[in-house]
Every structure is written in C-alpha cells, then in structure tokens.
C-alpha cells in the first residue's frame, strides 16, 4: 500500500535533472542573443526613420567634417575626402558606441543583475554586439562609397578581421573599465561624451596620421586607437598593410590596461547587485 503510494508519487514528481554544462552555456548564449536582438529591435520602435538610424551617426559625422573641410585645410593624401574620412569614421563610430553601450548595458539591466546569477561578463558583450551590428550596416554603405569612387578591393582586406578584432578587444577593455567605476560612482558616465570627443581628436579619424609629427608623435602612438583606426584607412583606401609597429605598441598598452581592468571588473561585478 505504502509502496504503491510512493510509486504513484514518483510518477508525479517532475523535476528537471540538474542541467549539464553544455545546456547552461547554451542558455547563456541564447540570453545574450535575445538581449542583443531586443536592444536592436527597440531602437526602431517609435521612430519614423527606423533602421536608417543605424547608419545616421556615421553619415552625420561625415557630413559635418566635409563642411569643416570647406573652411579648414585638411590633407587627404590625394584621395577624395569622403573616402579618406568615411573609411575611419565607420570603425570609430563603432568604438564610440561600444564604449558607451557597455556601461549602459550593465546599468540598464540592473533588474536582471539583481535577480539572476548569470555571468556578469554577459552584459558588456551585449553592448559590444549591438554596436557591432551597426558597424556592419555602416560598412555596407562604406563599401558602396568605395565602389562609387573606384577604390579597388585588394588582398590587404584580409587585415580587416584582425583590425576589427583588436577594436572589439579595445572597446571591451575600455568598456568594462568605465563600467567598473560607473556602477559605483556615475561621474565618468556624465563626462563620457567629452572623453570620447577628446579621444576622437587624438585619433587620425578626420585627419591624416602624418599630420602628427615630432616629439608628440611618440605620446600619440601610445593611444591604441591610432594604429587600429589608421590601419582601417591604409587597408581600405590605399590597399596597404597597416603599420604593424603602431599596432604592436597599441596592443602592449591594451594588455597593460587589461591586467589592471580585468581584476577590477571581476571584483566589482561580484557586488553589482549591491551597488547598481
């Protein structure tokens, strides 16, 4: 009698076995993709121009500096300025969006952080992947512009995945650095737009790398975006390999920053739910 009752119970008890590692990571991947999809989807809701907004920031920067060039003399090394500038504005815009998205993604998902024990490194990735989506959209426009200006596709384009990877890595390092501090005190977030503007002019986006010469060039080269962004221009516009020495210097700086930022982020992320 008792045994029957127990058998009956066990057919009633429906407990999922503790999930495997693989299933767990599949779950996290699915969550990551869903959050990226959400962030991309909602940007077009309640707008008139809709998906056009993915490329508008890059195009507007382009327009602004084309006007500026009408007043100030900016050397474009013999190629049309639109090609010269747009080839670097597209990766720069990605970088700028990514480092803004990362802290916003962590803070904006505070509700999730206070509720689920998902890996804390997931939210910075959401910010970067969302920016990456915009990058690819703008890149299509960029290819169109290159094509219209008869710029050929060369073997140097094989450098593009490497450059893009470096840029993603850099925006991740900068992003989690800003996030680590911002979850605790919001000052950097308030000033972030000025920091990115300063950084924008400290990078050869709208002017040529050759415009910076002499002693200040050494300090300038320590900025990791210099090598990467100029690399995009060398590859896309001139069909040349990037300046590997510049990239290496930037990479070393990035790794040094990572050694500092990663433990900081790891420590802070334990207490996200307490402080956000």
């Amino acid at each position: 009698m008792m045994k029957d009752a127990i058998d009956l119970m066990s057919s009633w008890i429906n407990i999922t076995p503790t999930i495997t590692r693989k299933e767990k990571w599949q779950g996290y991947w699915h969550l990551l993709m869903s959050l990226v999809l959400r962030d991309i989807q909602v940007r077009y809701r309640r707008t008139v121009l809709g998906p056009l907004w993915t490329i508008i920031p890059a195009v507007m920067t382009m327009v602004i500096f084309s006007f500026l060039r009408g007043v100030v003399d900016i050397d474009s090394e013999g190629v049309p300025y639109i090609v010269f500038a747009f080839s670097t504005i597209v990766p720069w815009t990605f970088f700028q969006k990514a480092i803004t998205n990362v802290p916003n993604s962590v803070i904006g998902n505070g509700g999730l952080l206070r509720k689920m024990s998902v890996p804390r490194s997931l939210f910075p990735l959401v910010g970067i992947l969302t920016a990456l989506f915009d990058f690819f959209m703008s890149f299509i426009v960029l290819i169109l512009i290159l094509f219209l200006n008869n710029v050929p596709i060369t073997i140097a384009w094989l450098w593009l995945p490497i450059l893009l990877f470096l840029l993603c890595l850099l925006s991740w390092i900068v992003g989690i650095g800003i996030t680590s501090v911002s979850v605790y005190r919001r000052d950097i977030l308030r000033g972030l737009s000025y920091i990115t503007q300063l950084w924008f002019f400290a990078t050869p986006v709208v002017y040529s790398l050759n415009a910076v010469q002499g002693k200040k060039r050494i300090l300038y080269s320590l900025n990791p975006t210099v090598g990467i962004i100029d690399g995009f221009r060398q590859v896309l516009v001139f069909g040349q390999s990037p300046d590997v020495a510049l990239l290496l210097v930037g990479f070393v700086v990035m790794m040094l920053a990572l050694c500092f930022v990663l433990p900081l982020y790891h420590y802070m992320s334990l207490y996200f739910a307490d402080v956000i």
């Binding site: 009633w12 429906n14 699915h30 969550l31 959400r38 909602v42 809701r45 509700g111 207490y271 307490d274």
Partner: protein, 420 residues
Amino acid sequence: MSQDAVIRVKDVWKRYGLPLRPYLQQRMDKARGRFNDDPDAYGPWSLQDVSFEVKQGESLGIVGKNGAGKSTLLKLLAGVSPPTRGSIEITGRLFPMIELAAGMHNDLTGRENIKLLGAVMGFNEQQIKDKTPDIEEFSELEEWLDRPIWQYSSGMQARLGFSVAVNVEADILLIDEVLSVGDVNFRKKCLSKMDDLIDNGVTVLFVSHNPYSVERLCDKAIYIQNGKIAAAGEPADILTAYYQESIVKEDIARKKEGEKILDSNLRAGSGDFRVQEFTFHKPETGEEVSEFLTGDAITVRIHLNVKNPIDKFTLSLRISDASGTIISELRLSGIQSDMTIHESGYLDCIIDNCNLLPGAYWIEFIAKDHGGIVIDHVPYGVSFMINGNNEIFQQTSNRGFVYLPVNWQLNSNRSFETNR
C-alpha cells in the same frame, strides 16, 4: 546536519555595498590598536548570523517587517549578491520569482516580451516554442499580446511576467509576494498553480506580508527581525509570534493613536453622540478583561456621550484582524429595533460564542442616523486578544479566522446502503 537538505544557509552575515571601505577601516583601527566591539561600527548589517535548512519538497515561509532583511536573504539565495560571511549551499536548479518584469521592454509587444523573458528565465529556443501557447493562455491577455506593453496596465504587465515564470521548470523556487498580482480570478489561478508545484515536489521559499498565503502554502516558517532569525517553526506559531511582536510595538503607537482617535474633536461625523471608549467584559461576571479564549462570550461595551438625542440610527461594529481584513460586521439597525439614544451611558454588544481563533483583533465603529449621515466613526484603534487552547489547535492548527465546532463521521458504502 541532515543529508537531504537542498538549501543550507550557515552563519550568514550580510552587509551591503563594496566591502572595501569597511575592510580598510577595520585594518586601520587594528593598526592603531583600537578594537571596535560594536558590530555595526563598519556599516549596518542587513543579515546577522542567519542559519537554516530546507529539505526537498518543503515550503518555507519567511515573514518580517519591511527592511527586516527578507529580500536580502532572497538575493543571497538567488546568488546575485555574495554573503559577507558564512556559506550558502544549494542543490538543484533554483529560480527566483523576484522582479519578474526584469528584462521586459516597454516598446516590445507582449509576444516579443514572452520570448525575451523566456530567455531571461533560462529557457532554450525549443522550450520557448513549446511553452508559448501555455504561457499565452495562462496570461489571459489574448489580443493584447500583439500590442506593445507600454499600453498595458500594471496588472497586465505583472500577469505577463508571472505567466512566464510559472512555466519555468525548477527544483527550488524563491517567491517574493508575486501572488498579489492581477484580479481575484488570476490570483486564484496563481495560488492553485503554486499548490500544484508544491505538490509536485518543488521546494519553495516564500516571502510575504500576507499571513494567509504563508499559512496556506508553507510547512515551516521563519520570522526575521532586524536581520536576525527571531523565531522558526510551525507557520501558525510563527505568525502568532510575528503579530504578537507587532502588537507590543503597535500597542504603544496605537495607544497614542488610540488616545487621538478617542479624542472626539478630531473625529469625523456630526457628533450628536460620541464614543468615549470601548471596554471588554466577561458577560457572566461583568469583569473587565482584554484577553479571552476561543469560544468565550464577550461583551463589547461602547461608552457613549450624547449631545443631541437620536431616535433612529444604525450602528456597525467591525471586527478585523491585525492585517486589516474585516472578519465580521455586527450591525444594529435602529429601524428594526426601537432603541433610542437620549442620554449618555453605555451600549453593550454581547457576543455569545466568539469563535475567533487565537490572535489580536481590532474594533472599528460607525454610527449613522436614518438619513445616512455619519454621527461618529471610530477607526481601528482598539484591540482585544484571543488565546487558544490545545484542543482547538489540534482541530484547526490555528489556520484561518474562525473555529467551527466539528464532528467527523466515516461511513462505508455498505453502511450507507443499510442506513438508507
């Protein structure tokens, strides 16, 4: 320590925020040779020395006032916030039913949000596909599912979150007062879904202010007070302890308030007569007491001060529990009775069998004249206690409000036939 516990909380202490500053302060004090014995010296503790275990299939209720540390405890169990000291062990898949709206986006439609919440709550794509019909049906949102949720009412948003959450398959559920969402029918559905889950062997931790949900759903309860476990045991006992504690505290507050309430100048109503005070008596002896046993006869004496004589009036005496739920309204309609109030004195309300279960009860009084105009209104300000005995506890386990005297009879089919 038992083997089959699925949740083990051992000597857990929690202080919010980054532990860096308290740590540095402590170090500095030590270096200077100063010892600070005050436990709160380096910031307030949200939880202090909390230990308990929950076995598989048990449901544990957690009660306590706002800010006592209930939500902190859930956060630690959910694994989103680390304990400052102590350890927490959890076996099995845990799902926190807290902040169910987390991850929702206002500009997405109900359907899109279901997919998103599914991902947030740990479903894979196939599971979401399989469960979406159930979720949509449970939510009862129908054509609203295609609208963005910024157009939803707050109740509808809560319903959406809850519908996804109840479909999560988990071994352990943490529930934070989510049962209070939606209208009566939806709440009923949620409660019965919870019953189902518990019957199916899911372990539940349930935080609530509502004593009836705790009594209904839980096998055990703990009472948290100022971050410490003040009592642990049977839900009914814990709730009694919880309310007795709040009565002692409240009594002081209420007494002050009660004086204010009994200061008739501050009360609403025309004031043709005013209640001066309530006293409670044993009808047989007339002795004034404030504590009774379940089933006792009680006289509620209403002392009246009359300014203008009143011929036709209606009185209501409401008895409510500590959480404000009205258990009974006792009405005296002056149109039916020929009672008139012409001069000051007292009115006795004699209850023959007061079958209320043990606890504290509060009195509210309203008097109206025949035109429906309020003469006097005394809000909840006066209380009396009912104490229990073993026999009644065995028959009711002190769940619910009232004791109904009962006889159980077992008949087999044969005796049923012969009886007929």
